[in-house]
Subunit: 145 residues, 2 copies
DNA sequence: CCAAACTGGTTTCATTTGTAACCATCGAAA
DNA sequence: TTTCGATGGTTACAAATGAAACCAGTTTGG
């Protein structure tokens, strides 16, 4: 009997992964080429820039990173003196992370580039396509969690 | 001056990556847990199952993998005796790869599971959302290449 | 012809990642 | 209290990855 065939190019998990990988790889230029950051480091910077002060656990939840990634990213950003740790008053396991001036400066520099990158991606689409992305992604995200 | 803020959860590259990562991680159960395959190995198997015979270069193009990934995946599948290499008649650099009986059997076993997985993903969406995914992904893919 | 540029594929090495074990601290329950 | 399970975070080790160097073999241009 003929084996059933899977058309990889039209297989949703593959398409998603390939698209994300390509976009992510291009986007990495913004934090990697200019500052030598890894993706976890960029996300950490981004999380702290957005929320001010966070714990490592909160960072992991917000940016979907395993705690080892967070731990290493935080260690590296601390080494660069882009963030500082403050022990929690009540729970000595917890550390509150905050960007330093230097960290904030790097963040402030990259945010406009990130936004421009996203605009560039969407600029090539028409309004209907942009709406489709929004709706489609939201729908998929909804039934993951 | 207040630094401009980037909302990571709504940032397209991040959303794409997170979604792809989550879907991909779940899907990996099908080839990893049952046969201990890596993603490149799965893609190689899938490419050969779909197209019959291919060269390593063609595999890399079809499934968006760097040639080192292809090389290693092919080596492992060969070690398992899931594929064989046949030297090209005219160009001695080229090898044609083909699945063995065992390779085909594994492929035939996994394809229905893969399709069921995809159906499961889409089953939770309504028709409009499915159409949105199709349109949105296609639009983004279009202006990558 | 022959050198240089190119192509298919492999290997090496450094970096990144994931898993699991681990340490310290905390909270609840006996 | 003491103990036991959960939790915040780090570390150790193995496996996966990417970049660049590499080795055939092939094509091109002089």
């Amino acid at each position: 009997m003929e084996p059933e065939i899977l058309d990889l190019e039209n297989f949703l998990p593959y398409r998603l992964y390939r698209l994300a990988d390509a976009v992510s790889r291009e986007f990495a230029g913004i934090y990697k080429d200019s500052h030598g950051l890894t993706r976890p480091e960029w996300r950490t910077l981004s999380g702290l820039g957005q929320h001010g002060t966070m714990t490592a656990t909160a960072l992991g939840e917000q940016s979907a990173m395993h705690k080892t990634k967070v731990s290493r990213a935080v260690a590296e950003l601390e080494r660069r003196r882009w963030l500082t740790r403050t022990p929690d008053e009540n729970d000595r396991r917890v550390e509150h992370l905050t960007l330093t001036k230097a960290g904030l400066a790097a963040y402030a520099e990259m945010v406009p580039l990130a936004k421009a990158f996203e605009r560039g991606l969407l600029a090539k689409l028409n309004a209907g396509e942009r709406a489709a992305i929004a709706e489609g992604l939201a729908a998929l995200e909804r039934n993951l969690a």
